[in-house]
Subunit: 232 residues, 2 copies
DNA sequence: ACAAAAGTGTTAGGGTTACACCCATGC
DNA sequence: GCATGGGTGTAACCCTAACACTTTTGT
């Protein structure tokens, strides 16, 4: 029998930075931590990686448990592994960022997990290095969204161009010219205009669009340039 | 005393995909694995994460041990954590990609570690999931290099524009127009022309350039667009 | 009628590409 | 003097950004 003699073993966790968009602002989903240490402090949604699952599996499991949702857009951020990041015992954590449609989540609001949405710019201090994770995830979201059409993941199936624009503006902390924005979005060919209008935002009403899934999948790698003068 | 009861613990390793450029082709550095299982098979440069170091620390340590070099450009790729990726015992591995000046390495060629450079497109089959790691790293290198000036990390302090162009062509597997390339490179303002010429490549000789470190550090996040018609 | 948001067109400028010839030197 | 790779200029095109007014409809 072969073995890797005497190497140290560690706990491995996943932590998910869950982004959502309420139509006006970018938000993140936090939970009140249910175990010591730092019990009842706010933290990211996380959990330990089980013996028979990959970190990706673990992140999906943990997300399902806390949001009721499956098939969420999930991307590995990086590993956080400073030796003393967890005061109890050495635990490394793989950070993930997730994009979800906040309205789908609403259906699950009566959950048992005490999760709560916070404005990204007005959130409580988090445990351990979770604030760093949020900051890294935000940066990566912006970077990625400048190049790939991932923000649709945070919108409902049907959405309007003004909604989409606000989302882009929120993520990039900038203002975008309406005309240029709609022209660029149109030129991606990713959107299909629907007959129906959303009258909630204005008297005139804005047409709903949906994502052309085929083109979305085919063009996901396409470089977009939706944010003028982007500084990362 | 608080503890995380009964959670499984795992081994954690790092594996480095080390890229270099010999003036003509992109290469990677591999080692003959020195421990069971798969002893004497080719593998990436790797090692276990020690009790008092972060994965980043471990990658730097392992690289120094195998190349003699410090301060190498190093970037985390992702974690590889399929439950059965290592047949002996569950081991997760953090993949890193590293860019080094192959000529600096040459000074260390009499090492004890049996490392060897291979053409990226003509390398032996690697152990475990290391082939996947190499493939992922190549993709990421291309992606990153399209947007940030990281390829200079693989060149000597003094280099010529034709050398740089060949490197870009190798990484992107494409041909680039000489005139447009030198104009674009020039417009970044990142290069300083030296008086000296490299006569090894031609009779006329090509001027050496060096990187303007100040601008390099300041503009690292600047988006470049050096590869026309880039498909990632 | 008016308020409030949606939707659309034009133009100037900058950047990108495609393309071909001269230059410097060693042999 | 000729072969070899290095180095440069221009013109057409496209994309981008800047900019303001009209449309729709609920009240």
């Amino acid at each position: 029998m072969i073995a890797y003699s005497s190497q140290p073993h560690y706990l491995l966790a996943v932590d998910c930075i869950v982004f959502g968009f309420d139509g006006e602002h970018l938000k993140i989903l936090l939970v009140k931590r249910g175990l010591e240490p730092e019990i009842n402090k706010w933290s990211l949604i996380g959990g330990f990686v089980g013996a028979n699952e990959s970190p990706d599996d673990a992140a999906n499991r943990v997300l399902k448990k806390n949001t009721g949702l499956e098939g969420i857009y999930l991307e590995q951020l990086q590993i956080y592994g400073e030796p003393n990041r967890d005061p109890i015992e050495r635990t490394l954590s793989v950070g993930y960022f997730a994009l979800i449609d906040i309205h789908k989540y609403q259906a699950q609001i009566n959950d048992d997990y005490h999760a709560e949405w916070f404005l990204i710019n007005d959130r409580p201090k988090l445990i351990f290095d979770h604030d760093q994770m949020v900051s890294d995830a935000r940066k990566k979201l912006r970077y990625k969204a400048a190049l790939h059409p991932i923000l649709f993941e945070m919108l409902p199936k049907k959405f309007t161009i003004p909604q989409l624009q606000i989302l882009f503006e929120e993520v990039n902390d900038t203002k975008i010219d309406t005309r240029n924005f709609s022209r660029k979005i149109g030129s991606t060919g990713l959107l299909i205009k629907l007959a129906e209008k959303d009258k909630s935002g204005s008297k005139k009403g804005a047409f709903y669009f949906k994502v052309d899934k085929k083109k979305y999948n085919a063009n996901f790698q396409a470089f977009l340039n939706l944010i003028p003068n982007l500084k990362l």
